[in-house]
């Protein structure tokens, strides 16, 4: 059970969810992806599109300032 970490706080559309999706597609069953995002579009869209594509959003937490962490599992 591996945990991969990804930081897309410095990226802009579409790379925020493009890089997240590429990381998600490399997960094996039981793995987790921890992705750091900024408030706004990525924070709203990434949990939604991950769920739509069959991944499990295990948690969303506030880290510091406008940065949040989303934990997604397969």
């Amino acid at each position: 059970m591996a945990t991969i970490q990804l930081d897309v706080t410095r990226e802009h559309c579409p790379m925020t969810f493009v890089k997240t999706k590429i990381a998600l597609s490399k997960l094996n069953s039981g793995d987790q992806l921890e992705v750091l995002v900024t408030e706004g579009e990525p924070l709203e869209n990434i949990p939604k599109s991950s769920t739509e594509q069959g991944y499990n959003v295990l948690g969303i937490s506030h880290v510091i300032d406008n940065i949040h962490k989303i934990i997604i599992g397969k």
């Binding site: 990226e11 802009h12 559309c13 579409p14 493009v18 999706k21 590429i22 869209n45 599109s49």
Partner: protein
Amino acid sequence: MSIIVNGKEQIITENAISLLDLIKQNNVKQPEMVSVQLNGQFVDRVVFSETKIKEGDEVDFLYFMGGGQQKKLSLISFSGDFDKLVAAFTLASGAAAVGYEVNLFFTFWGLNAIKNERGRKAIGKGFLARFFGFLQGGRNNVPLSRLNFAGLSPKLMTYMMRKRNVATLDELIDASIALNVNLYACEMSGIILGHTKDTYIPEIKEILGVAKFLEISEGGRTLFI
């Protein structure tokens, strides 16, 4: 009583209401196809009429697209301009990242973006084809659709994109390939310019024509860029 429907507060006049009645009241589209979560748990369709909604319940109406048919986007890349290629690959990679099936069909000037040869080279069959092939060049030579400044602008634009951490054209193309966007080349314009399958990058799935394109893009949306 107050409940939450799809994340928004809703005031219900009755003291108790069945899930089925709530669906009717909300004019939910395609009620026979909607899936419902009550307080985070899926509710089996057969018990909709017996399931009672109470104060503070959270109801979510969800639709699951089957077969991927409806989430399909096909883009025809004709102009081959730098800015329009950025738009095409942004749409392609973005849509693919949210689960769309994406087709990119390159024709005429768009073919320059997918040639193996990134610079100006006299490729093609026959003098005229090689003449045009040289002038058109490859991915390094694609012009900005306006204010090209003799080819300086695409370089300036790429510099600005890197500086602001916005994906460059190459990054968008790599991302699209990584997300399995289907890339196709136009048979007709390829023949005019004397191209073969080896002229293009290996990620091009097929060289095809209008009939096959219409078949591939059936059921989704098509955009001409």
